[in-house]
Symmetry: C2
């Protein structure tokens, strides 16, 4: 891997971050701005290119390598974005070369969750570990597999869909078309399902304490109820952790990887679920893994994306 400054770009559905990253992994010259209203590939590439040019100009015009994380189905080798839920007009757009044409730098793209995982694996909670799996707990669960300092893509660029590990074969239908996927239980939306399975008296008591209906049981509400000493809230955080651990156990057994970095807003409640997640992971795998299994809380926050993108820029 080249040890040079690089530019990391993290394109989200709403915001665009662009930063200069030093060889030591320090984020400098950060720009954050809203994505423009014209969401065509040409317009977004132009906006990203302008941001890159501004940083290049500040650096005396040196053409730095650029890495760019993009939400959607990305072919990193070809520099193509097949489709993106955040940018509906995009179909097989050669975004890497479009951005390159705007800024004159070499541009390497990958899926944004993969580059978040790469950032955390190399510069964040996973640093020093050979292989890392990242799980980002949001509305669903994003993920990324980083083996030997590189993102593993599988056959079609969609490796790391860890939210769709099947944890309840007869569970409810998931947005992926499957059933009983991990993200139905151990992500923000999970509390609605977990609460709906409670005996009705317990469920009613929980909703009365919350003063809300089932659909409003967010992690924030559940954290507030737990802080207020609601026993059922505590129990559902344990259930949340238990399912997360089952998914992690499957990852341990399949991949033989022992380092897991867990990110996303729900990690504000880390202490509410991490112990149960660990216990459950160890319950579902070989007991001798106990001393090697590491469940680590993500460290880099928003910087993970631009850091991972800068690492990706230098990976060739």
């Amino acid at each position: 891997m080249k040890q040079v400054p690089a530019i990391g770009v993290d394109l989200g559905g709403q915001n665009l971050r662009i930063a200069l990253v030093t060889p030591a992994g320090i984020v400098r010259e950060g720009i954050q701005l809203p994505v423009g209203s014209d969401r065509s590939a040409a317009a977004v590439a132009r906006q990203i290119g302008e941001g890159i040019r501004a940083i290049v100009a500040k650096e005396g015009g040196v053409r730095l390598p650029v890495g760019c994380g993009i939400p959607g189905i990305v072919d990193a080798d070809q520099g193509l974005v097949h489709a993106s839920p955040n940018f509906p007009p995009w179909h097989d757009e050669p975004i890497a070369s479009m951005i390159s044409a705007e800024c004159g730098c070499d541009v390497h793209i990958d899926n944004d969750a993969n580059l978040h995982a790469l950032g955390e694996a190399v510069r964040g909670a996973g640093r020093g570990h050979r292989n890392t799996v990242m799980l980002t707990l949001g509305t669903g669960i994003g993920g990324g597999l980083v083996f030997d300092g590189r993102v593993f893509h599988g056959d079609a660029g969609f490796a790391g869909e860890v939210g769709h590990i099947v944890v309840e074969p007869e569970g409810p239908v998931c947005g992926c078309g499957g059933r009983g996927c991990l993200e139905l239980y151990a992500a923000a939306r999970g509390f609605r399902l977990l609460a709906s399975r409670l005996p009705s008296a317990e469920r009613d008591a929980l909703l009365a304490a919350a003063g809300l209906d089932l659909s409003a049981l967010t992690p924030e509400v559940m954290a507030r109820l737990d802080d207020a000493g609601e026993r059922i809230a505590r129990q559902l955080w344990q259930e949340f952790g238990r399912y997360l651990g089952i998914g992690i156990a499957t990852l341990v057994n399949v991949l033989g990887v022992m380092t897991f970095v867990i990110g996303g807003g729900i990690t504000r409640s880390w202490e509410r679920f991490q112990e149960e997640a660990r216990r459950s992971a160890l319950e579902h795998t070989y007991p001798h893994h106990a001393e090697r299994l590491r469940l680590l809380r993500a460290e880099l926050g928003e910087d993970a994306g631009v850091l991972g993108a800068a690492i990706h820029a230098c990976a060739e």
Copy 2:
């Protein structure tokens, strides 16, 4: 990868196979013999070394690279076998250098299931595909992950324990210490569990047709009952396939790999379960994977081990 002849060794609990493998992947000069009664590491290394020397002598004394598959917990990088259920006296044995000292050739070892998977991936049913997961359905389920023509080991050399994907979180306890592992349902032993969950009238009818008790419901018995038109036997083969498909779906979602090679004696009943395995895998993953997902029956039989070992010998 060097294109040279190599010697492949496949050590089993009972038998030892040693073969010369040509650069084109043709198995020649095969030796098969029972493992000697002295099961110490020194004695087994000596026996393997003698077999290699016999082949080297026939080849005019040229020292060929040797690959060797060994059952147990193997550190391929270090050439160590930490432990082996088939060779209880072994503890952290430097088997690669012990065999090398006996035969004068460079020796590279790996877990036997990994090298079976490598053989099938490169020379067998998986040839031409970039990434392959192998599942060997025996008493349990062995496995191996082959990415870009190489075995993936994870952190501790035990990647590919696909039999321990959790498919029923509240299922029975498994030998690994976990619960509800795939191999409790979709391997030879699975039929006992699947039959035990039947309504009692159906279970009794099945056992009466078999003239056997529950513990005797092997795949061979189930195949015979299916051939005889027993409806419940057909139904249990579907259940077997359904669970296999759930495990495969999780592998698709985690790894983004679309090529699965399925081996082991139960594949004699391939037509009884493969369609349901495929249906179930697609039910639990993104629908657009349908046209790319390949469930392939292993092709190489016993040769997979020595072929994979020879490929491993030339991988450096």
